[in-house]
Symmetry: C2
Subunit: 150 residues, 2 copies
DNA sequence: TCAAAGACTATGATATATCATACAAGTTGC
DNA sequence: GCAACTTGTATGATATATCATAGTCTTTGA
């Protein structure tokens, strides 16, 4: 049975949460996706990252980030100023409109997390995080080679 | 810090696992995606589901399933025979080629899970599942209404 | 200083996610 | 037996995921 597989529960949990969270953001009439929000947050915390560095922080690849940045810029939530010392890059800055959206979303984000974690004690949450991080770590290792080359 | 958020760890874990698992399948030269595999598996277990019922089992929506089914059919891994008693539907059947791919992937799937869960005891795994299922359950509830209507 | 190597971004191709909607076919109520 | 409703599938539009690659710019090394 598929439902007996742990990764099935893992997939279900994150999909349920993302749908739930996005639905609440949509319901509040705030025009942003969770992925766009996450990228904005990263830029807010560090304003001198390359697309690859942003990608690593949000677990996406560089191409996905490039497209999200293009969208955010196009929507006026982000501005990109060329960096003088490197002609390839730009300095990304969250615009005023971007800040406003981040502020508007913040209480919804907190409420979403609170509801999603209701019934989990602090101990539960700490343990959950530990187990999840262990899985991430395991998957970052090079794969065991089923078809090992001589 | 984003990294202190539990859902960040959750997102990271499932993305790490999916990349890891897909890379191992690709490396073995088996031409199937994890999502396609999952849908095939569901059809194998129950051969009389509507697209919506399949979607519920794999946590996708009907539109996504429709497109995955079209692809699987186009690639010859699935056949669709019209059902006599309902002109809208078809009976889905995993083809011989589909069975072969499922068999070829199976050892890789098992190895992936084993590696990803290494270091987690049975107790850990049971607890992890419990916590994840609780989150899914919490997110299935209608949202708390921040802007409650009188 | 110049050529090779490396870093950074953009984009084409394909797959999936989601909403909305169109269309077809079945069911129900009267 | 027909209209209204419901169910099932397909698809357009937009966003994200991923790989591969092209194009630009920087750094390195002799």
């Amino acid at each position: 049975m598929l439902s007996s597989i742990l990764f099935y529960s893992l997939d279900k949990a994150i999909r349920s949460y993302r749908r739930f969270a996005q639905a609440n953001i949509d319901r509040a009439g705030i025009p942003i996706t969770i992925d766009q929000w996450l990228v904005l947050r990263v830029i807010l915390e560090h304003d001198d990252l390359t697309q690859l560095e942003i990608a690593e922080r949000v677990f996406k690849d560089q191409a996905s980030v490039a497209r999200i940045l293009a969208l955010l810029t196009q929507r006026g939530l982000l501005s990109a100023v060329p960096l003088p010392h490197d002609g390839r890059r730009t300095k990304l800055r969250v615009s005023e409109a971007g800040h406003q959206i981040l502020e508007a979303v913040q209480p919804i984000v907190l409420s979403n997390r609170h509801q999603a974690l209701s019934g989990l004690s602090d101990t539960d949450q700490a343990l959950l995080r530990e187990l999840l991080d262990r899985i991430s770590l395991n998957c970052a290792q090079p794969a065991a080679n089923l078809l090992a080359q001589p």
